[in-house]
């Protein structure tokens, strides 16, 4: 069983205390360290992190291209560590697509079924169905070199989906596409996942892609999973400095703790007021000590100075089209970025102006460090 966003559902992939070491002795590189993870059936699960964080290695371990050095890996309740990729009910969409250049589009899509020894009539029927699913019927007899990058992407998807795997692994599949095509394929992927009901494990370094497509996200860095949660949790309640910094833009504030009640802390704000903030699970913040709290730039609003949570002075303003970023300095000298929605006729705010700020309730989040 896996718990996904509060609900208990059957686990498709169970990873326990998994580690992966490349090389030996002095040169040993720990690519994965103590990974514990349960991915639910039918889930769109994303591994998000910068390059070199271990997300692709974890995907390759699940696929069977790499064997774990330590720990256990089960797919659909069966231990698969030690098995090769051809023995696992899992298919991969490669970053480079890896379409067989000497085969036609239809032959590429049918390859997995052919290897499984399916009868010809079934292969033909499934290939036709897959071509329809990815809207490539007209190009079935083309070679991969004769179709565009976006079309190759669709063929790679169809080829991996054709054997009806229990899990589809996607290794940064959209990174080679231009922005417009990438947006289109994001929607396409989501549609395919919903239509097929197959569990997707998606690797990306693009936080926006992860936030828009995923049911759950695991943020990885240096071989570890730093935070696991829904896009909303990852974005609005980051518990780790790396996660908060990697995803979106955020303000880091060092604030003293006034008091703690349950999973809430009251933090003293510069200027004498105080505000509630969420504590990460298991963190005991002693009153009087200082903690780092984060708040997103859009979670504060300009308000009259009387009754405001904070006061700040405007240092500069950057225009971004839909909004303007105001670079502020709080009364105790800490920097603060405020995102202000642009509206027609709204007077610009000149540097040097003193503003009052109101923080959205529940917007402050304490970090674990």
């Amino acid at each position: 069983m896996a718990v996904v966003n509060g609900a208990r559902v059957a686990a498709e992939i169970e990873i326990a205390a998994l580690g992966k070491v490349f090389g030996q002795g002095e040169a040993a590189f720990h690519a994965l360290k103590n990974i514990n993870l349960k991915i639910a059936t039918g889930e769109f699960f994303t591994l998000l992190g910068p390059s070199g964080c271990g997300k692709t290695t974890l995907l390759r371990v699940i696929a069977g291209f790499e064997q774990p050095s330590t720990g256990a890996l089960a797919i659909n309740g069966r231990q698969v560590a030690g098995q090769g990729p051809n023995k696992r009910p899992v298919n991969t969409v490669f970053q480079s697509y890896a379409l067989f250049p000497h085969m036609t589009v239809a032959q590429n899509i049918g390859f997995g079924l052919k290897m499984l020894g399916k009868p010809r009539s079934e292969i033909d029927a499934t290939v036709a169905e897959m071509l329809r699913l990815v809207r490539m019927e007209a190009l079935a007899e083309r070679r991969p070199s004769e179709i565009s990058g976006g079309q190759q992407q669709r063929v790679a998807l169809a080829r991996a989906l054709a054997p009806r795997p229990r899990v589809l692994l996607l290794d940064e599949p959209l990174s080679a596409l231009d922005l417009k095509l990438r947006k289109e394929m994001q929607g396409e992927l989501k549609r395919l996942q919903t239509e097929t009901g197959i569990t997707f494990v998606f690797v990306t370094h693009d936080q926006e892609e992860a936030l828009t497509m995923s049911d759950r996200i695991a943020v990885m860095s240096a071989g570890r999973i730093l935070q696991l949660g829904s896009p909303d949790e990852i974005y609005n309640a980051p518990v780790d400095r790396f996660v908060a910094d990697f995803i979106g833009e955020t303000n880091f504030l060092t604030l003293p703790v006034a008091g703690v009640s349950g999973d809430q802390a009251h933090l003293d704000l510069p200027g004498g007021t105080s505000a509630p903030a969420r504590l990460p699970a298991g963190l005991a913040a002693a009153p009087g000590s200082s903690v780092t709290a984060v708040i997103r730039p859009e979670q504060a609003e300009i308000a009259p100075a009387e009754g405001a949570d904070l006061t700040a002075e405007v240092e500069s303003a950057t225009f971004f089209g839909t909004d303007t970023h105001l670079h502020l300095r709080l009364s105790d000298g800490q920097p603060f970025i405020l995102r202000r929605q642009n509206r027609p006729g709204q007077p610009p705010i000149a540097p040097g102006t003193r503003l009052g700020l109101v923080l959205a309730p529940g917007a402050l989040q304490v970090l674990r460090d």
Binding site: F65, Q107, F111, P163
Partner: protein, 296 residues
């Protein structure tokens, strides 16, 4: 003449080399094959199809009208083609795992392995061929060791057999197969192999359906590089094949030497060229096209 005339001039050195070094001798050989032999070698300028006739047929000494197939020449022709095909297959079978081994080493150590492959080129072919002779002759290294160990009681007759020729030619031409195969493997995207395994292919299936088709250009280049020099090989059959096991190269050389029949030698050389070209065309037609027609 505009600017293009000058561009043509820049091509002149290459054209001169092509005409003089490549086409020129070929034209001379073609012309000689239709002339009459001179008494002390060379040719006399007198048109004759006798050389071509004698490539295929022989006249009875006593009854010139009695014409039979020249089975001796045709047998040598067939022997040369057959031995060259076997050499090419042996080189392909040995060369594939060798090239694969090199292509799967770390990028840093690959130049070292390639260097080892090319080391035989550093020594004269004749010397290397005599070294093989020394190894396989009746009282040579291999027979001495086998007799000493008691595995055999009589020395094995290896020298002056087709086996000796195949051994020698496979040894000489193996690098010419390994290098193009390595080049083809080096270009191959390794994730294609992973994709093959991922799509439930066994090791054999991935080798057959993915690796072999992808390194086919290497096999084609390697086969051409091995087959063509093999069919005209001179030193190897001479040293290892002895007097009875002639190949085409030896037969042609014989006509220009002791035989003193340059037109016949030229006709044989032209025929060899035709055989090679025809073999190449057939080979490229069948191998080069098959993947377009093969269905999953």
């Amino acid at each position: 003449m505009g600017g293009n005339g000058w561009k043509w001039l820049l091509c002149a050195p290459a054209l001169v080399v092509l005409v003089l070094a490549a086409s020129g001798p070929l034209v001379i050989v073609a012309i000689y094959s239709f002339l009459s032999p001179g008494n002390m070698g060379g040719v006399t300028w007198e048109f004759s199809t006798e050389a071509w006739f004698r490539v295929f047929f022989r006249r009875d000494i006593f009854e010139p009208d009695l014409v039979t197939w020249n089975t001796a020449n045709l047998a040598i022709f067939w022997r040369s083609v057959w031995l060259s095909i076997q050499t090419t297959v042996i080189c392909a079978v040995l060369g594939f795992p060798t090239a694969w081994f090199i292509a799967t080493r770390s990028p840093r150590s690959r130049p070292f392995w390639l260097f080892l492959i090319t080391i035989p080129f550093w020594t004269n072919l004749l010397i290397r061929t005599f070294a093989i002779q020394e190894m396989i002759r009746n009282n040579g290294t291999i027979n001495t060791v086998l007799l000493w160990s008691g595995l055999i009681e009589q020395p094995l007759q290896m020298l002056f057999t087709d086996f000796a020729i195949l051994l020698g030619m496979a040894y000489v031409f193996l690098p010419l197969m390994v290098l193009p195969l390595y080049a083809a493997m080096d270009k191959m995207n390794l994730s294609l192999i992973e994709a093959g395994y991922d799509l439930y292919g066994s090791r054999g299936a991935v080798l057959w359906h993915i690796i072999l088709p992808l390194v086919k250009p290497g096999f084609i280049a390697g086969s051409i590089l091995v087959f063509i020099p093999a069919i005209g090989a001179y030193v190897t059959p001479r040293v290892l094949g002895g007097g009875q096991s002639l190949m085409l190269g030896n037969l042609i050389a014989l006509q220009f030497g002791q035989g003193r029949n340059w037109p016949l030698g030229s006709a044989l050389a032209m025929l060899m060229l035709i055989v090679v070209v025809v073999a190449l065309v057939i080979y490229l037609r069948t191998v080069g096209r098959s993947d377009g027609e093969r269905r999953v």
